[in-house]
Each structure stands twice: as C-alpha cells, then as structure tokens.
Assembly symmetry: C2
Homo-oligomer: 153 residues x 2
DNA sequence: CCTTTGACTTCAAGTACTTGAAGTTCCTAC
DNA sequence: GTAGGAACTTCAAGTACTTGAAGTCAAAGG
C-alpha cells in the first residue's frame, strides 16, 4: 500500500517473532557460528538484524525444525553464500527440506487430531452422552489404524 | 474389515512410528518417570506396549511438541490418571494444548511457504526468467509483511 | 538531570534429549 | 539346531539448547 520497503532493521525480539526461533537460540546460533556475527547498534551493544539476516535465519529455522545438527546447518549456510551458480543444487536442498517439513507437519497434524478427539470424548462424557462417547472412541481407533497404515509405507 | 480389535501390543519401533517420538526418547521418558515402566516380553527384556501405553504416549507427545518440560509432563500425566471426575479440567488442559499445537503448526506452515518461495525463486533464476524471479521476490516481501502483522496481534 | 521500566547484554550452569559402544534376543533360513 | 542379521537392551558421554543471575542501555516521566 505505502512504500514497498517498510523498515530495514529489526530487534532481536522482532526477529524471534518473525523466524519463530527464541531470542536465546538466535544468540546461541551466533555464538557458535551457525550465522555470521550480527551488527550492533551505534551507541548500544544491541543486535540489529537486517532483511538479509532475516532471510538467512528463516533458512536456518527451516533446517532446525527438522532436527538438523548445528554442524550441518553451518555447512549448509556457508554453502548458500557462494553465488547463484549452483541453482540446481540449491533447489535440491530446498526440495529435501520441503519433504522433511511435510513429515514434521504431519506429526503436528496427528497430534492436533488426537487432542480434538480427546476433547470430543470428554465433552461427551461430561454430557452423559454415552453413545457419542463410544462413537468418538471408535473414531480414535480409526485414527490409530490410519497411522499404522501411513507409517508402514 | 476384519475384527474390530486388530493387535493389542506393539514393539518400541512400532510405538515410535505411531507416536512420532524416537525410540531413544521413549526409553528416556520411561527412565525418568514421565511414563510408568513398560511391561517386558515373557522371555526377553524387550518392551511391550499396549493400547493404553500408546494413548498415554500420544498425550505426552502432544505436550512435548509444544516445549513442555519433562517435570510438567510428569505432573500432567499423573493428573490424567485420576478418573473421569475432572472432565471439565481435562477439557481445559486439552484446549490449551490445542492452542499451543496451532502455534507450532503455524511455525511449520510459515517455513513451508518460505521453502516453496525459495524453490520458485531459484527455478526462475535457473530458467533465466528475471521477471518471474522478481515477482517471487515481491511475494517473499508480502510473506514477511504478513508475518509481521500476524505476530504483532 | 535522575529514576524507573523493560529489553537488551554476557556467561555459567542446568535440562533434555541423542549417540555410540558393547552386549543380548528375535527371527528366518539353512 | 545353529548361523546371520536386524532389532532390542543398558549405560556413559556428547550435543543442543535453556535458564538464571548480574549488569548495561533506551525511552518516558518527574
């Protein structure tokens, strides 16, 4: 709506909110060299993140979300630095990551279904609706069976 | 299709697949008392999980997925033991957990969008399609702006 | 100018898994 | 029955954060 470029720097708190990584983890990643040292405020020691830092951190957050070790992340990030020559290779890495994130998303989805079923169950119990409680229990069994099939493939 | 009750026991590997928790974590949770000791095979030392164990572990997995400490999980699990008297309380706990899982799911979703955008970008670059690359970059900026709005609320 | 409030800083210690080594058990196949 | 391989077991050591204490800095109000 207004200017295309809104703001160009972020505090650690804003960065944490945008990347989904806790501030403590942002500092930790910097301390062990997963990301390059972040520039500091002119008259303060506070970290000042720019758009490019945000971008790198989003990528790191994606990698961390699927259980990649910090050593491996360091590798990936430094590899990412060398120009656009390796576009195909980049795409391969990204595609792999997409798959891993999909698995992670499925785990969360299963847990959400589980919690919703449990809520339904207890609501039925509370309402004394035995029939509905049993229906929910049988749905729970269906969920378990689906899981068995999904994970067996 | 066949009998309503399929199988009543599971190995640690099956349990890991169904709950989404690594086998090492299942053993760890048992060792520190987050879950009660699992019964062992008649002639082996191997753990044998039953449906009830599975149910408890799904709940623990839900709690762990949102960063709950093992101390707190221990609390929640033992609380869950005392009968259906506290249905309302159970529902409250479950609803809270549902909210936390939703946040977690959003984090993952954002990361998926990020990775997909990056793939689009590199594919455009690879194809020499500068116009498309720029369009994708602008979409990335839109994503960032959306994040800012979402997290600020 | 001074104080307060809240967000930031570092560094050390704690927590939550994870991995590896070394050994046992299960299962299938001869 | 016994050989081989996969899957299990325990336990100790490592990794990846996380938390807490103690102090610094920025902005707002008196």
């Amino acid at each position: 709506m207004s200017a295309p470029t809104t703001q160009h720097t972020y505090t650690i708190k804003e960065t944490a909110a945008l990347t989904g990584l806790p501030a403590s983890t942002l500092r930790y990643y910097e301390s062990i060299g997963v990301i390059a040292p972040i520039s500091r405020g002119a008259s303060s020691k506070h970290r000042v993140y720019d758009e490019e830092d945000l971008d790198r951190l989003m990528w790191v957050a994606c990698l961390a979300a699927t259980g990649m070790s910090v050593g491996a992340m360091r590798q990936y990030v430094t590899n990412g630095q060398r120009g656009p020559a390796a576009a195909a290779e980049q795409i391969e890495l990204l595609a792999e990551q997409e798959r891993r994130l999909a698995v992670e998303a499925q785990h969360i989805a299963v847990r959400q279904r589980y919690v919703r079923l449990k809520i339904d169950y207890w609501q039925a119990v509370e309402a004394g609706d035995t029939a509905r409680a049993e229906r929910v229990s049988s749905e729970a069994r269906t969920l378990a069976d689906q899981l068995k099939r999904t994970t067996k493939q």
